[in-house]
Amino acid sequence: MDILNAIVAILNYVIVPATTYGAQLALGALGVTLIYGILRFSNFAQGDTMAFGTAITIMVTWGLQSLGIGFGPLPTALLALPFGIAITCALLLGTDRVVYRYYRTVRAAPVILVMVSVGVMFLMNGITRILIGVDEIKFADGARFLISASEFKSWTGLTEPLAIRSTQAITVIVAGLLVWALFWFLAKTRTGKSMRAYADNEDLALLSGINPDRVVTVTWIIAGALATTAGVLYGLDKSFKAFSYFQLVLPIFAAAVVGGLGNPLGAIAGGFIVAYSEVAVTYAWKKVAGYLFPSWDTDSLLQLLSTDYKFAVSFTILIIVLLFKPTGLFKGKAY
């Protein structure tokens, strides 16, 4: 039995990638849950907002690279990120002004707003396709690894490698900072509190003199920042492809529902729950089992589901939560 190598294998193939992915999902789910809490609809355009923000960031990155501007060992895309966020926020605010605001004034049913968000999804999808095309794009530059497999092996003398890519470390750090800033904002600032008040009890918030337009504006800005950052981190870590961003809507929604729609803390927990389940269920555990039970000889890969079915994992979690606890693990709004 070789516990050390087994642990390293789990770290390398499950914990590290799932933590990274979980951080990306958490950011996306935070955006969904904030919009749900304040604007009161499930935003189907979330994935395409992420794609749009990432596309802009990639284009700015290319511009910076052609000017010879880099960010040292860090990816140039991090330098470009603020531009991506700014333009995405501008687009979202424009969309709100032209599209969503009307439905707020007529107090349309949430399901109408979901339908409207499908229209916005089409628009953003089309704009992204025109801007940057439909092909897969890799845009990570800078240092490749924080810890490389060979370094780790020579340090520790273990047979099993542990590699941490710099994009993985950056994802966790950036997501952590952003979440910290968001929670600080919501808990401590007057505007943040007014947003929570608006989400909690719209009528009473209006009665207290809270300006709904301001709350909505700030919400879209935060949603834009979260979506763009989530998209760029995902793209750095894996790659950018408009369609796979669209598909991210499912695990992101699952994360938000699992945590409890409208509950920011729940969105983060949900992101990690979905990510860990997805990675753990689609990982082939044969290697780990080999270290732990060397005498056990099996030709099965010990993989519960093939990676082609990773969305089935989000979906299953979603269904389990809908069946047993529709308000989510952290109390959200289910009805």
């Binding site: 599209v99 499908v118 999808n125 929604f253 699952a254 529902v257 979603l318």
Partner: protein, 443 residues
């Protein structure tokens, strides 16, 4: 939907015939300018889209249920022609087919046991019992399933490697497709109806993606991304080569001054059109009848005021489950028809933008809750979708004609076909905002 706009229906009783005339004129114009073959291709797919839209209209228009998984129900319906009409693969059943069915039976049994335990037990025992049933079921399932699949997929993998079908007439597959889709709708409706409306939207998005993933990856079932080709044609559609070999047909075509090859392709498409047209007409008749029946009135009453309907003792969730399954069945039927028309099953082509959200645009543009509107919206939007792919580059060409040659110009030109996605988004948003009842408003 609930955004009422009473003065939207301008034109009175001539509005619908007029708009249908416009639709017909567009198809005729396409025939005269591009060619009748192209016009019929658009029309046939338009009719299939109209059936999908009818199904979605039952869910969204009659009942206000947001289904974002149309692609899944359509794809599942498309599986039926493979299962029904393809010849069985020799030895596949004895090699592993029965075993696969056994494995699926084990999976179903495990789910049933888990559900029963969930009802019977309480507290910690309940959780433990349910989890144990599922885990044991899963392990057993995989132990039986995996080796059988491997054996089936090893049979002549270049052209078969799957169970094959029953070798029955493909027309039988159409109702089977409807049943398959309705079964999936039952499962998803059972879990997410009765909760917030958004939850159904999210859950259907999930089931849609999963059904497509299954069809793409389970090669023993439908060869996955390897595609199943050569699905037989339905009675009474002939094959072009047979027509061309028929001296009587050739003579008749030459008599009309039509090239026999062109004539044969047109004939085939016209017969398909007739076949699909009959199905559409029957469905439309049935849907209209249902809508005007007490059942349809109740459905709309529930949609317009769920709370009041529930207070009147209507079991809203049960009604919703009915209509959700019915709508899905119609989508499944359309899916089976589409695969029959194509003559092949290509799971990788099921794209949610095209098969879910475009259908949504059709229903909303046509007029939510109006069956004729769905048909009109479907054909018009489908026409626009096809033509916009060609128009995009032409318009872009005009717009960038003054630009100097360069990478930007090339990029814009290459991206122009994507403009249709934006066009659809704009169309949906404009209709929702300014004419929420669509081209043909619900009465």
């Amino acid at each position: 939907m609930s955004t009422r706009q009473p003065d939207a229906a301008k034109g009175g009783k001539f509005r619908a015939p007029l708009l249908f005339a416009v639709m017909a004129a567009l198809i005729v114009m396409e025939g005269l300018t591009t060619g009748w073959d192209s016009a019929l291709v658009i029309l046939n797919m338009g009719i299939i889209s109209a059936i999908m839209a009818l199904g979605l209209n039952m869910q969204w228009g009659y009942a206000g249920l947001f289904n974002s998984g149309v692609v899944g129900f359509t794809a599942l319906g498309g599986l039926a022609p493979v299962l029904i009409s393809m010849p069985p693969t020799g030895g596949a059943m004895s090699q592993g087919g029965w075993q696969i069915l056994g494995a699926l039976l084990i999976a179903v049994l495990a789910l049933v046991v888990a559900t029963k335990l969930n009802h019977r037990l309480h507290g910690a025992a309940r959780a433990a019992g349910v989890v144990a049933a599922l885990v044991i079921g899963f392990v057993l399932f995989r132990a039986v399933f995996d080796p059988a699949v491997a054996r089936v997929q090893a049979i002549n993998p270049a052209s078969q490697g799957y169970l094959g079908g029953l070798g029955l007439p493909v027309l039988l597959a159409w109702p089977v497709g409807a049943v398959l889709a309705a079964a999936a709708a039952w499962a998803i409706g059972k879990t997410s109806l009765g909760l917030r409306s958004d939850y159904l939207a999210i859950a259907t998005l999930g089931i849609g993606e999963i059904i497509v993933a299954v069809l793409k990856n389970e090669e023993w079932l439908d060869r996955g991304v390897l595609n199943v080709t050569g699905i037989p044609r339905p009675w009474p559609v002939p094959y072009e080569v047979d027509l061309q070999a028929d001296p009587g047909f050739v003579a008749r075509m030459q008599g009309w001054g039509i090239d026999p090859v062109t004539g044969s392709t047109l004939t085939v498409k016209l017969i398909y059109m007739g076949l699909f047209g009959i199905v559409l007409a029957l469905l439309l008749w049935g849907a209209q009848l249902a809508l005007k029946s007490p059942w349809g009135r109740m459905m709309r009453a529930i949609r317009d005021n769920e709370t009041a309907a529930a207070a009147m003792g209507k079991n809203v969730t049960r009604r919703h489950l009915q209509i959700f399954m019915l709508g899905a069945a119609v989508m499944g039927l359309a899916g089976a028809m589409m695969i029959t028309l194509d003559g092949q099953m290509t799971p990788a082509s099921y794209n949610p933008l095209r098969y879910t959200f475009l259908i949504l645009v059709m229903v909303v543009v046509g007029g939510s809750g109006n069956n004729w509107g769905s048909v009109l919206g479907a054909v018009l939007v489908w026409f626009l979708w096809i033509k916009a792919e060609a128009w995009g580059p032409e318009i872009m060409n005009l717009a960038i004609s003054h630009m100097s040659e360069g990478p930007l110009r090339q990029h814009l030109f290459d991206a122009a076909p994507q403009m249709r996605v934006i066009v659809m988004g704009l169309l949906l948003l404009l209709v929702l905002r300014f004419s929420p009842r669509g081209l043909l408003p619900e009465k």
